[in-house]
Symmetry: C2
Subunit: 917 residues, 2 copies
């Protein structure tokens, strides 16, 4: 009855578990990161390059995996292999581990495949005991140094390996300093330190009821185990979860002979980048500290000098160091992040790795390196994380500013913004547009009715909702910062205040949100405006030359369309017409339509919407100037448009000429248990054909207008009060070639479930098209297609495609139906699912390839079988997600469509996907 | 851009469009119903059998189809073929159409593939004009008869063909009778009738500005077209929609020489069944009327005699007639519904067809015919409509009772019931259980909280919700009548009244509902109780011997389980544990659990539920006595259990020891946009494992109990207050073989989306099982499986199946997700979809085979590939639908599970499906 799922990895007895390096040769290489971790692999590589690296060896990550699989037992053969490796280190270093005359001291460090800075444990100066410390003192001629090292070792080892909290030792150190009335550790003499060493050891005996280990081999194995153990400590686990690092990867352990930057003024320790990691500028960048160990730099007691000072202080070493920089960058063909130590004027390399950098630096460095012929364009494209481009498009917080973080929500739409808190869309509009103040709209959650307020605000903050909540999606579309789902905020609309921890924020108080991190901060934090550099344009042009997927945008407002075009969109892939109905008088006409008693009443209300809708499309067509524009006919359930407040209800009743009671009743009738699966999409087009008729008419009349904008051609203006396509009996003269330009509207019917729906609705569209063409004399080419959003329509794609000239996958809804997860409600469990490893990613952010993806593949295959060359795209939120774009490339799609600010991300991701092929 | 979808059927010029019959031979046959309609095919068959049938011919249904496809033009070759056929009729009848001396008169009748009684038009006595009427008078020696026939013909033809409403003629007839002060038509003399004929003809001239056609060929073609036209009249369209008859079938037209039952006292007309159509008894059954035409029987002016009188009145003809009955029944091997006319002591057969019958009659006749060796068992099984068996299981309304229909809703759960109207579940309980009154629970819609009220009521009536709404599903489960979605009812809970048309029904007023028809009636209508006959058992036993699918039931109460077992269920396929939590103190404990602050609080509340839940399972296991019982762990979102009224909120707060504010807040937190796609199913098991732990513990402890009911063995009773499975350190003695019996619980994890969910939860179940076994010493065998309800889990079945010992398709939810339709919200458009032909059936009633069905097939295939022999069933509402059962058989499922009252339906449908294979 039991099912075993986790195969237990075992270590082969004959397997090589330990890799040595030092003295110009190494058993490992840079490309063995999976086995040796980043640190171990790069140390080996540097050794092989002949760079000065203290000798050592690396125990592989497979040992770590075996350690956890085998109930924390280390493989038996490890001991032998470590012994052999250690004796090689002794040979290379010319000293012996635990030797009373010439002792070898080592560091024991972690090193995983991916960098996890500071998450795991390290032990330095290992190999010291009461005997070897004396030899160290003698050999270095520096007793104070030797006992300081010993003191540090006991403290670190006791903390990391023996589990004795370091405050025990800090207290004693502090006591010693105050006894002598000194402030800095450096004021302590060798005798003070000797005394501290014996106090420390007594403390260990007292707390653990056993002495501090004098046996250096016992010390070594204790430290190795401790490093492996630290792979599973809570902070490492959290870090891995945040960075999608599997626990199965494990860490390697590198044991390396110690070098000392704190043996005198001809010693130093430092870190450096081969280029500026903030800007990408080709200039050495880093800092160093004379007579210090790495931990002193971290402790921040002394301020390090910048690398620019080094030529004065240590000219010889500086020359050697920059030579190493150049060598490493040429070798790795990437900017390096380097750690080094100088011991008695001798340079030792302790680490090199590809340097982390800002998006701006990444772009500049990549473009520069192509110019320098260090890498080719393909490599430049591959090197940039597409998602990081977002940083370049939005204002960012000044990294040096101080901040008080009130809460952390989800980073729902990138960028930072400050402004006065408002709690309603109306207040946002009044303060934002009329009083010209910067505001942050704070809502428990937003709805389509809040859109005008979102437009007026600098940023949006919600207490509820995920990365794909209404607030998040709309804000990303607008390119405005948004933090969603900040659950600790207690928002009280009535009192117009927001409580969080001990703070109470009232309307008008200023806050700052960072939509890239999810942070909500008190007061105004200065921001830095981005500037798109020429390097960015260069990189994008390379991406455009490389990719095969077209990139369109999801946009319905002129502002969004213009932004998207600026960012390189090649058309609109999704214009959600419903978003056009929430503003001002439109919402009233829309509501009138919904509460109308019959078709005639609905038509009357729709006639009011027609000219506004037509103007919308004229604007969009004009902005996109000949690029394809895909327009989705009305999709959401009607009740989304209905009024909630008594005042609004009365207004609608008055304007529609019905009783308030009727409006309330209609609202009640339209209420649904599961609106996502309710009376929406083309179901509305079937039951209320007049709505789609009006929309089709507006589209075709707009197309006619932009094709020839001369006023006399406008068929609909010739017949005053003519709200319908029919009724104008005078056939106009043939449509001439005017100053306009051609548009080919792509009309998209949403939520098709069975072929017949599309058959009926496309004949409706064809009929309206014919009427408009007759009336205006224009010849309009257009496509009719469908949004594939249901598992059934994927399966029946072959039956649907006879009526569809294109498919566009609405992957938001397709994910909801395929997985049976409501986007609005998943927040309550999806995070627990991620924590428990049940799902890797939020399926609304990254496409579920093995579920939703298979359905997409089925639909593409069956659709193209019945209609070869069918145009296929995707227009869900996934259209801007690199992993999902990679899938779209593989699935053979023609284009992806994403929110305007994701267009550059998509362009780059599509280029990377094309390179993978 | 246009897509043509409807191929236009054309008639091949060389095709045979007309089939003749008469005088012992025929071109058609009984199996040509599709071409000749039921009437035409059976007339041909009777001819070929040598029975006395007036000669005639049938124009095929293909002509009808061509007529509509070709803009109501008849194919050119038809005229020639009709001419030839008519001349054959003349030859056989020995008279000539339109002849002044010996005229042929004909009837022109419709006849579709399926019987559509009274829906289309008929013309009799065609061929009469001012000349032929005289010949008819002379040849029959009955002038009155001839002119009466002529009068009838003009009236009928004018109505049917010329579109002149028959009241014009009725008025004149009435006037004539009152002029002569007579009451019956028979009082009119030949001269009166002659006068009427000329008045009729004047009326035609006056109204239509042209004379009544004297040309008999013009008459004939007019009638043929009129019959074709009547295929599309509104009442025929409505009938087709109600009976799922495609418009494309078309009707045939049969032209047949007239015979007269009204030429004197040696004439008669009659209808008969070869067996009793109400009871199935093998006894001739019918009635006849001397000296009358068919329409006189319909008019109901004279009371017909029963067939039992005929031996006295017409002994010779009776003998001949019963000979024909026997011949026809032997030939068709089924009960026949026969029309005949006797003209001057000569018998003529006008129609035979398989007789409509009640379910009881169908069963008896089928079983009898097997005994008579007329048919075999397979045929008997095939002959019964499985859905009709429902009639046998529920009380039915007395068909003779008078009734005032207030409204018509959906026939949601069959059977009839009367009772006092109550508007709340509480009132139902008080009046129904305490006062022992019959009540009908009337709600706008029901929710799980109403279940106790539904139990207490005789029947349920709702204003909202479809055939698969909560009310409908639960009522069918309980076997109680239910009418749902009676939208015209205006229910006012506050006033405790219900308004419909001009009636106001108050609490306590009596109504009757008929869940088989959807009717809601005023007052109490007498009902007839059904009795399951021995024939029923016989038929069922044949079905059981034939079928390969197992039939289980969906049941959670002892009452349901017992009913299902009585009806032949072979186990429980779906025990919805959540239904067990709504009663009395359980709901309070459940609510306590939901509002608890932490895991400890939840466990405390769950400990209260444990003994009750254990008792539930003990009862179910005991009833099912060794048959499999599949238990679904908690499935619905938690907010379904939360209190709505302030009083309930306070009670929960008190009992849980929290503030009312907290309860309200928790309810608000749990509210979801789309609960169907929300935090439910195994998502609850993942986030609140303690719930599933409690349920698993209850199941295993119950299993241990029934396996050995000796009190000393009950581990959980030994440790008082021990709410958990652990905590009892004393290992009991090995479990002995007691007086109990073995049960193998099948534990079903709902709504699995990814394999990991099932992996985690089955290990939870395994752990609890081990604990219970350790504590009780019992060895319990059990299965763990999953409900497949999401498209994703169908696609990933191969990955899920390593953790599942069985699959059960939850086709309700799978339909919702695959089609993107909420069961609760589909009513607003699904009816329009049916009307427009977009969907054929409600997909919640009959499985959508090409969408949901393909996913099921994929899941079965992938599941069995990875785990050969995997047990697979279905437990949605579709489990009781014959068409869906046929699909399940084809898809290779092992069992279907349906509501208790559907079990006999499923047994028979499964047998039919097995026979189809």
């Amino acid at each position: 009855m039991n099912v075993k799922s986790n195969a237990q990895p075992k270590v082969d007895m004959a397997e090589k578990l330990v890799y040595s390096f030092g003295d110009g040769s190494a058993e490992g290489k840079a490309n063995m990161k999976n086995l040796l971790g980043g640190k171990g692999a790069n140390l080996a590589e540097m050794c092989a390059l002949g760079l000065p690296v203290p000798p050592g060896f690396t125990i592989t990550t497979e040992v770590c995996t075996a350690y956890y699989a085998g109930n924390k037992k280390l493989p038996g053969v490890l001991e032998t292999q470590v012994k052999m490796a250690l004796s090689q280190v002794e040979k290379k270093a010319g000293c012996v581990f635990g030797d009373g005359a010439n002792p070898l001291l080592v560091s024991v460090r972690s090193g995983a495949r991916a960098s996890m800075p500071g998450m795991m444990d390290t032990v330095l100066n290992l190999g010291l005991n009461d005997i070897t410390v004396k030899a160290l003192a003698k050999n270095t001629g520096n007793e104070r140094f030797a006992y300081d090292s010993y003191r540090r070792f006991i403290q670190m080892y006791s903390d990391v390996v023996l589990g004795l909290d370091h405050y025990h030792f800090e207290d004693m150190l502090q006591q010693k300093k105050s006894d002598h009335d000194i402030e800095l550790d450096t004021g302590l003499t060798a005798d003070d330190l000797k005394d501290l060493v014996s106090q420390y050891k007594e403390k260990v005996q007292e707390e653990l009821k056993k002495p501090f280990p004098e046996n250096v081999h016992e010390q070594l194995w204790g430290a190795i185990r401790a490093v492996f153990d630290s792979w599973m400590n809570p902070r490492a686990q959290t870090y891995r979860k945040l960075h999608d690092i599997p626990a199965a990867w494990g860490t390697a352990v590198t044991v390396q002979s110690m070098v000392f930057g704190n043996m005198g003024d001809d010693c130093a320790t430092g870190v450096a980048f081969t280029r500026n990691p903030s800007t990408g500028e080709k200039k050495y960048y880093g800092e160093f500290l004379i007579n210090a160990q790495g931990e002193d730099v971290v402790a921040g007691i002394r301020t390090p000098q910048t690398l620019a000072d080094m030529p004065q202080v240590m000219p010889q070493v500086y020359k050697q160091l920059t030579g190493v920089f150049d060598r490493l960058e040429a070798h790795y063909r990437d900017m390096q992040d380097i750690e080094f130590t100088i011991q008695n004027n001798k340079l030792w390399m302790l680490q090199t790795r590809n340097g982390k950098r800002t998006a701006a630096a990444a772009v500049k460095a990549a473009v520069d390196m192509v110019k320098e012929r260090l890498i080719d364009k393909k490599e430049a494209i591959r090197r940039i994380d597409p998602l990081s481009l977002d940083q370049l498009l939005h204002p960012t917080l000044d990294p040096d500013a101080k901040k008080t973080v009130l809460a952390t929500g989800l980073p729902a739409s990138p960028g930072a913004a400050s402004g006065k808190v408002v709690f309603t869309a109306e207040a946002a509009e009044i303060m934002g547009l009329e009083h010209k103040e910067k505001v942050i709209l704070v809502r428990i959650e937003t709805s389509p009715e809040d859109i005008h307020g979102m437009h007026a605000a600098q940023g949006i903050l919600t207490a509820r909702g995920g990365m794909t909540s209404h607030a998040a999606v709309v804000a990303r579309g607008m390119g405005k910062p948004c933090v969603s789902g900040a659950g600790t905020l207690a928002i009280d609309y009535a009192k117009k205040e927001l409580k969080v921890v001990q703070h109470t924020i009232r309307e008008g108080d200023i806050i700052t949100i960072n939509g890239s991190t999810g942070e909500v901060m008190l007061g105004e934090i200065p921001t830095v405006q981005p500037a798109l550099s020429g390097d960015f344009e260069t990189l994008m042009s390379w991406a455009d030359d490389t990719r095969t997927l077209k990139i369109r945008t999801n946009a319905e407002t002129p502002m969004d369309a213009e932004a998207a075009k600026r960012f390189g969109a090649e058309g609109i892939g999704l214009c959600r017409t419903e978003h056009m109905f929430f503003d001002g008088e439109r919402i009233t006409a829309m509501r009138e339509m919904i509460v109308a008693k019959d078709t005639a009443g609905r038509k009357q209300a729709l006639a009011k919407l027609l000219p506004m809708q037509r103007e919308d499309f004229i604007q969009l067509f004009t902005i996109m100037k000949g690029l394809p524009v895909t327009i989705r006919l009305l999709d959401p359930p009607l009740h989304e448009f209905l009024p909630h407040t008594e005042e609004d209800i009365k207004q609608v009743a008055k304007s529609a000429g019905v009783s308030a009671e009727l409006v309330r009743q209609r609202a009640h009738e339209l209420k649904e248990q599961n609106p996502m699966l309710g009376h929406r999409g083309c179901r509305l087009g079937i039951t209320y054909p007049e709505i789609y008729e009006m929309q089709a008419q507006a589209i075709f009349e707009a197309a006619a207008e932009v094709m020839d904008p001369s006023p006399s051609r406008r068929g609909w203006r010739e017949a005053p009060g003519d709200g319908g396509a029919s009724g104008n009996a005078l056939a106009p003269a043939p449509f001439p070639k005017g100053e306009g330009f051609k548009v080919i509207p792509e009309i998209m019917i949403p939520l098709v479930m069975v072929p017949k729906e599309l058959e009926l609705l496309r004949s409706l569209v064809d009929r309206v098209a014919a009427e408009v063409m007759r009336k205006t004399g224009a010849q309009i080419s257009y496509l009719v297609g469908t949004m594939i959003e249901l598992p059934r329509s994927c399966l029946r794609a072959g039956d649907i495609v006879p009526f569809a000239e294109f498919f566009s996958f609405g992957t938001n809804d397709l994910t909801q139906t395929t997985l049976g997860i409501s986007r609005d409600d998943s927040a309550s469990f999806i995070e627990i699912y991620r924590q428990k490893g049940i799902v890797e990613h939020d399926p609304f952010v990254t496409l579920d390839q093995s579920g939703v993806g298979e359905l997409i593949q089925i639909a593409v295959e069956r659709g193209r079988k019945a209609r070869p060359g069918l145009k296929v795209g995707i227009c869900g939120e996934h259209g801007g997600d690199p992993a999902s774009i990679r899938f779209c490339q593989k699935a053979g799609l023609d284009y992806v469509s994403c929110s305007p600010y994701r267009v550059p991300v998509a362009r780059l991701a599509a280029a990377q996907a094309a390179l993978e092929k």
